[in-house]
């Protein structure tokens, strides 16, 4: 049977009785020579993603988060056997332990920020329909305009990030930022927040929104620290 990984824990711990995972499979704890993991046995090595299965995955991770902050696995991590899982995680043991220390006692809060679209410069219509050198110039002007827009978007996202970071200050232990990419107006700022500071963190963002009429943000959480697992994977 294949083994589906939900999360990695600081020590072996059994999941709550009757906790079900992907496709209703029972979840069990695995002892990885000191580290723990929650897994399910699957009939296949391939797990096709779906919203329902994503919810099942996160439900298991959330159950682990209730008592202690785990390192959540990305959806779809399946290995052929428990021995293979043990070998893979054993290779990364020191990295995993460091990551578990980093997230201990904390949760992830995620801030989605709408990045205002920069004002688009009007196109030069005098060259509309032109051919040859004129159409070439028009093309280059459009490329330059798009590049300017992307730079402005990134700069605006950076300003928003700094504003939010300043508002939450030392309430957070770490942050991870995904700036707005071309064609998108969404920037994401993830914070690692000690559990006892979650309400203070929410209040700080509420205060920020009351002070800054231009800000439109969405805050979600607490999550397991999905955004703070970089450097662990393959």
């Amino acid at each position: 049977m294949a083994i589906y990984l939900y999360c990695i824990l600081r020590a072996t711990r059994e999941p709550p009785l009757n906790l079900l995972g992907i496709d209703g499979t029972p979840v069990r704890g695995v002892d990885l020579d000191g580290l723990g993991a929650w897994v399910s046995e699957m009939a296949s090595m391939t797990v096709v993603p779906s919203p329902e299965r994503a919810k099942e995955h996160d439900r298991v991770v959330r159950a682990a988060l209730e008592d202690e902050t785990p390192l959540p696995a990305r959806f779809g991590q399946v290995v052929a056997s428990e021995d293979e899982l043990r070998a893979i995680l054993s290779e990364r043991r020191s990295i995993l332990e460091s990551a578990l220390d980093r997230v201990a006692g904390a949760v992830e809060m995620t801030v989605r920020m709408l990045v205002p679209a920069p004002r688009r410069a009007p196109l030069d219509t005098s060259v509309a329909g032109a051919t040859g050198a004129a159409s070439g110039r028009r093309y280059l002007e459009r490329v330059a305009a798009v590049q300017r827009e992307e730079r402005n978007l990134l700069a605006t996202a950076g300003i928003l990030r700094d504003r939010v970071a300043s508002a939450v200050g030392d309430l957070v232990r770490a942050q991870s930022f995904a700036g707005a990419v071309a064609g998108s107006s969404l920037a994401t700022l993830s914070h690692l927040v000690p559990r006892e500071r979650i309400e203070a963190y929410r209040r700080a963002l509420q205060t920020l929104r009351e002070q800054d009429p231009a800000l439109t943000i969405m805050v979600s959480g607490p999550w397991a620290p999905y955004s703070f697992t970089e450097g662990i994977g393959t």
Binding site: I88, S185, G221
Partner: protein
């Protein structure tokens, strides 16, 4: 928290979109990337589009809304001040 609650009609889609962008795109990877699309539809892109759309809708509303939703999949707050703030 001031303002009206979140629109219940949008709650599930919004929370699910946020969940998909975490679960499918982040977390420890031990076996390489997995397929993240169904029938060629990129679930992460779709989920981010829903989130952008929700925030843009909030931005366009003439009366500002803020609200907090306690959902089995996690709490979610939309924060935007009234236009006349």
């Amino acid at each position: 928290m001031t303002g009206a609650p979140l629109d219940p009609a949008d709650d599930d889609a919004l929370v699910l979109s946020d969940l998909l962008s975490h679960v499918l795109d982040k977390g420890v990877v031990i076996t390489g990337d997995v397929i993240i699309s169904i029938a060629g539809i990129d679930l992460i892109s779709v989920s981010l589009s829903v989130l952008i759309s929700a925030l843009e809708t909030l931005e366009r509303r003439s009366v500002g809304v803020s609200g907090r939703l306690s959902h089995p999949l996690g709490d979610l707050s939309l924060l935007h001040p009234p236009r006349d703030a």
